[in-house]
């Protein structure tokens, strides 16, 4: 397929996933912080901005840190490329650029999602019924993903779409773990029930976790689950495995591309890791490494598959100078 099309599909997948993950985290943060004292709430919102690597950008333009300003920043702010509405817009633009490749159903589900956000009174939603809005975003994103799976041929185009969303999700889950567990690895050894539920919910993982670990909600268990569960579709390991599977199909047979090597090494590492050892060591450094590898893999995918002409071709005209 065309390199550019592959790139658009890849980013469609990434942006839809980003919008969904952001909505998830906003939802849980918002409801987790209801009734908390102002200082606690402020701390909670700043944590969320850190997870999303948007803390500095937010601080540059905002003084007040509360539910309203942060939610607004993360949902509608057009200057924030990570905000939900701009993400959906970019997902739509990317899909529109490959309109002839995505199924009509998939296009309509993305386009209708975008149109729905356009006609909604988002300010009112954020004020009065954020739960409904976040639920809507999550459901629409799931609908997009589901429609893609059900209506697109599972060919290279679909693989790039999936690859994009898997790499995005792997990174988001790493970020979530990295920031959420900061206070507890700095001395406290008991993970608060509330906090753990919070993290699991952000990853839509609480039900699946309880089934896997009905008895003990320990720090170790929660980290292990989100990092290494081989079956839970939002765990880092699961995302890397899926990305690897798709990449293997995209590569020429018998060839191990650089992106595949990076992902495969990291996947193997996670597969055989011991969470106790990780916690005894520097878990944050480890999560950073994982994120770096995911980013590196995305860059290598771009180099291998998406390379097209530079933005401009320079004109030169030779002048007679006699």
């Amino acid at each position: 397929m065309l390199s550019r099309h592959a790139e658009h599909l890849f980013w469609t997948g990434r942006y839809v996933e980003r919008a969904a993950d952001t909505a998830r985290m906003l939802d849980v943060t918002y409801h987790g912080l209801l009734g908390e004292p102002v200082a606690e709430a402020r701390r909670g919102w700043l944590d969320l901005l850190d997870v999303l690597h948007l803390g500095r950008q937010f601080a540059d333009t905002h003084q007040l840190v509360d539910a309203r300003t942060v939610s607004n920043f993360l949902v509608v702010d057009p200057t924030n490329p990570g905000a939900i509405v701009p993400c959906v817009h970019k997902a739509r633009e990317n899909a529109r650029s490959v309109r002839e490749l995505v199924s009509t159903e998939l296009w309509e589900s993305i386009n209708n999602f975008w149109l729905e956000l356009q006609v909604r009174d988002l300010a009112r939603d954020l004020d009065q019924q954020p739960y409904e809005l976040y639920g809507l975003v999550r459901r629409r994103c799931q609908e997009v993903a589901g429609t893609a799976t059900e209506t697109m041929p599972h060919d290279d185009g679909w693989r790039f779409l999936l690859l994009g969303s898997m790499l995005e999700r792997a990174e988001m889950t790493c970020r979530l773990l990295n920031v959420r567990f900061a206070p507890f690895t700095e001395g406290e050894d008991e993970l608060g029930f509330h906090q753990a539920v919070h993290v699991l919910k952000s990853a839509s993982a609480s039900e699946a976790f309880r089934r896997a670990h009905p008895a003990a909600m320990t720090l170790e268990n929660v980290i292990e689950f989100l990092l290494m569960s081989p079956t839970f579709p939002r765990s880092v390991l699961f995302c890397l495995q899926s990305a690897e599977t798709e990449l293997l199909q995209l590569d020429a047979p018998g060839r191990l591309s650089r992106a595949l090597r990076v992902l495969g090494r990291r996947r193997a590492d996670l597969e055989f890791a011991d969470v106790g050892e990780l916690l005894a060591g520097d878990i944050h450094a480890f999560l950073d490494e994982v994120q770096n590898d995911v980013r590196r893999a995305a860059e290598l995918v771009a180099v291998q598959f998406f390379r097209h002409a530079e933005e401009f071709a320079v004109f030169h005209s030779l002048e007679t100078i006699a």
Partner: protein, 493 residues
């Protein structure tokens, strides 16, 4: 039946497509009118909403320029179809094939031939080389089988007598075919029972016909040619159509940056390496095709593309430089070109046209500006049009000034009192002016898609039907030859 949709409908002094002068329904519309009468206005309004929802959700939009950032709009389709009986259509069809055949001959002769029409004084050399659409850079660039106008859109209007006349030729990059196909799809979804017993000729094989034509003009060396559609990109006003056609044909929709030229061969960049391209259905204007040859600032084109075409390694459709035939001053010579190249009398007449570089003609025209239509020769889409009877004194004065300053750039035509067709306005029908853009494809032979795009001026009294100027469209039904509903009683006597 409650209110009759046709109550109060008056054809006035225009040629009406549905009603004769004595207000009786033309035979080929009888079935449709009867069926329409069974609908209440409320029911029709509901169908309209269905249609709008279908269009918006499918993203059938075009971009209007001149407004902020280019606004996406849906192109309104009127629910009342236009019907053309078989006998009438076959006459149009022959006329269109004749005209496009002559245009192909003329353009091929001009760019790679001996320029016979110029040599023999049929059309002045200076008129051609002074045309905005003339491309010196395309001199000597071959097109297999001379199919330079692979896709042509010939705009027809019907005058007060009901005679079809050619209003203008569009042989650069005519757009609108996607609306023809989508309109039909929408009609069958929204008002399926309207078709009744009428046997309407299908249009949905357009994609296949177009692909066939494109494959037919591939360089001889290409065994199983790879065809692509080159678009300026998602921000182009006709992007929807580009994507639509690529899908219909099952070919890649590429942008300039997806292509690269190596040793005068064109390739596309894919995730599995370079893949050779043989035919490019390009919807990028000449001036943006190749920055080595044309506009240096163009990021839409492909460096080296024209040399590749010249070397015969790739075919560009439509051919570069066709704009000279779209020139509205050259248009005035097309009947002569038909006689010259084909030795036949033109079947479809032109509209009466005055050229302005002749001093006497110009003066006569300037005196009658308020009765004529003045058009810039190089524009399309209704931009820059001045309709004398509707213009203010200030507008007329400005046009007169422009003509004096640059007579070559304008033509004047007698106002054609375009035919009208009943059109749904709120809850009743009113007559609105219509034209017709049939699409003509040239591959192995020249063929016409049945019907085409009927454009309708939605504003009362307006003669401008262009989508960019607030026009809408109608599904256009060409009836089958063997249809019992068809007879020759259509002529106004």
């Amino acid at each position: 039946m409650t209110t009759d949709l046709f109550d109060g409908y008056a054809p006035d002094d225009f040629f009406d497509e549905v009603f004769t002068e004595d207000a009786s329904v033309r035979p080929h519309y009888e079935d449709l009118v009867a069926r329409l009468r069974s609908f209440t206005p409320t029911e029709l309004a509901r169908r309209e909403r269905l249609r709008d929802a279908a269009f918006r959700s499918a993203g059938i939009t075009f971009t209007v320029y001149g407004e902020d950032e280019g606004v996406e709009r849906t192109f309104p389709m009127d629910l009342l179809p236009r019907i053309i009986p078989a006998a009438e259509w076959s006459e149009i069809e022959v006329g269109l094939i004749q005209r496009v055949t002559a245009l192909n001959r003329f353009l091929d002769d001009l760019y790679v031939g001996e320029r016979a029409a110029v040599r023999d004084g049929i059309v002045p050399a200076w008129l051609l080389s002074s045309s905005d659409g003339f491309r010196r850079e395309a001199f000597g660039v071959p097109v297999p089988r001379g199919a330079r106008c692979l896709v042509a859109g010939i705009d027809l209007v019907r005058d007060a007598e009901g005679t079809y006349r050619v209003l203008e030729d569009n042989v650069r990059n005519p757009s609108g075919i996607s609306y023809v196909l989508e309109n039909r799809a929408a009609m069958t979804r929204v008002l399926p029972n309207l078709f009744g017993s009428l046997r309407v000729r299908p249009v949905d094989d357009y994609g296949i016909t177009l692909l066939d034509a494109l494959r037919h003009v591939a360089p001889a060396a290409a065994g199983d040619p790879t065809v692509v559609l080159l678009t300026p990109g998602v921000h182009n006003s006709a992007y929807f159509e580009h994507a639509f056609l690529a899908r219909q044909m099952g070919v890649e929709l590429v942008e300039g940056r997806d292509l690269v030229v190596d040793e005068h061969v064109v390739y596309m960049r894919t995730t599995r390496g370079l893949q050779r391209v043989d035919v490019i259905y390009r919807r990028v204007d000449d001036a943006f095709l190749d920055p080595v040859v044309f506009r240096r600032d163009s990021m839409l084109g492909v460096p080296g593309l024209l040399a590749a075409a010249r070397a015969g390694n790739v075919t560009l459709a439509n051919a570069v430089g066709n704009g000279v035939a779209d020139d509205k001053a050259v248009y005035a010579y097309v009947p002569d070109l038909i006689r010259y190249y084909l030795g036949e009398e033109p079947i479809l007449p032109n509209c009466t046209t005055y050229l302005r570089w002749d001093d006497d003609q110009r003066k006569a025209v300037l005196d009658r500006l308020d009765q004529l239509v003045v058009k810039p020769v190089a524009e399309s889409g209704g931009y820059g049009l001045c309709i004398g009877p509707a213009a203010t004194d200030a507008e007329l004065a400005k046009v007169a000034e422009q003509i004096e300053a640059n007579p070559r750039n304008y033509i004047a035509q007698e106002v054609v009192s375009l035919s009208r067709h009943p059109t749904l306005v709120d809850d009743h029908l009113e007559g609105r002016h219509v034209d017709l853009r049939p699409f003509v494809l040239t591959g192995e032979k020249t063929t016409v898609i049945p019907g085409g795009l009927t454009r309708v001026a939605l504003r009362r009294g307006s003669l401008v039907v262009n989508s960019s100027q607030g026009g809408g469209s109608k599904d256009t039904w060409v009836l089958r030859d063997d249809d019992a509903k068809v007879d020759d009683g259509d002529e106004v006597t």
